[in-house]
Amino acid sequence: MSDCPPRFSLVQLTTGDLSEDQATELESHVEGCPPCAAKLAALQQNVAIFEHKREANLAQIKLRLHDEGVAQAPRRWGWRWIPTLTAPLAAAAAILLLVWAPTEQHPQSGAVRFKGALSAKVIARRAGQQFVVKNGAKLTALHPHHLIGRLCDGVFRGRGAPSDTLLPRDRPCGDASAALPRNPRQARPARKRRLGQLRGHRTHRHRLLGEGLSTRQTPPKDRSFAQN
């Protein structure tokens, strides 16, 4: 009895999961071992009993799969992220709409009013290479036409700027004008400012005044817009 194969081997013999050699060896053992023969006979008897119920059992399984909706197409991993990203994408779209929403426009000068802090990134080109001007760098050390993306007639105000600070609209901007969109609603600094506000970032206080590029001078405040 101790040399008998495990019961699972008899199951494998019944289902045909053994190799030919293993099956032959096991069959020869079962022929000479009454306990194993009895086990195999009981197993085959139960299998024969189920044989009459097989089709009904399978039909019920299919019915349950259909009812439970399990039989639907499997969700592949590649598409699972879509519902997950729906909310962030919607939030991003909302932010984009907020940024691109029309801003209040000055009736005479055509300037657009922004409130709050500004954030701007000044990019300069020197010796054919572009680089970002760090906060606090002396902009006077750069030639004006080396600057890309500046608002030459405008004023970038840092934190605490008055609410009626004006940015120009549709005015020539020297060498850097090509780098800026003509529509100030599409101006990158404005978008960055609003995104910066939403994220709570500290603003870069690059101030450009006219062609002088001074970081020290403060532009005259135009209160006319506020009065309107």
């Binding site: 495990p6 019961r7 699972f8 081997s9 008899l10 199951v11 494998q12 019944t14 289902t15 045909g16 999961d17 009895a38 086990k39 009981a42 197993l43 008897q45 139960n46 299998v47 024969a48 009993i49 189920f50 044989e51 119920k53 097989r54 059992n57 399978l58 019920q60 399984i61 299919k62 349950r64 799969l65 439970e68 399990v70 039989a71 639907q72 197409a73 499997p74």
Partner: protein, 167 residues
């Protein structure tokens, strides 16, 4: 989807009979055994993409079937149900009668209160399904040495109860 259903049909054609035998030996009731076979193939359908037992589906299906049977035992114990369809002339197991099957079921119910699920799976796989230690290790996903240690601890803890479980 059709591929998976076709796979389940093939597996059902090949293995449902032996799974019924296994369920009947654990549950001692024809109706419950049929339900266990159903549960096994439905759960197999859901987990078909995770199948990684090698060439044969049989050890994998056996494990799913074990879980289905233990769930039925647990549920029936909670409900206080007692299997009645265990008449020997309707097909028994190893020539033993109703008393033996009821005794095994009660023993399993008692053991389920003391043992965790993994240990129960090892116990059923080795003592009821007749898998050797290597096959149990592969089925459960732990080392053979860990299986031996658990079985030794079980024997020391349960003593004569194990004789009721052994087939």
């Amino acid at each position: 989807m059709h591929d998976r259903v076709a796979t389940i049909e093939d597996l059902h054609r090949r293995y449902a009979g032996v799974l019924f035998d296994k369920s009947l030996r654990m549950l001692g009731d024809h109706g419950e055994a049929e339900n266990a076979v159903q549960e096994t193939f439905i759960n197999a359908f859901r987990a078909l993409h995770r199948f990684h037992y090698g060439d044969s589906h049989l050890p994998w299906l056996y494990r799913i079937c074990t879980n289905a049977c233990l769930k039925i035992i647990r549920t029936n114990k909670r409900k206080g149900a007692i299997p009645v369809d265990v008449l020997p002339e309707r097909g028994g197991w190893d020539g033993r009668g109703m008393d033996r099957q009821l005794q095994l079921r009660r023993t399993l119910q008692d053991l389920m209160e003391e043992l965790d699920d993994r240990t129960m799976t090892i116990l059923v796989a080795h003592h009821i399904d007749g898998l050797d230690q290597g096959q149990v290790a592969k089925q459960v996903g732990i080392s053979r040495r860990a299986v031996v240690k658990r079985l030794t601890a079980l024997r020391a803890k349960l003593g004569t109860l194990m004789e009721d479980v052994d087939v």
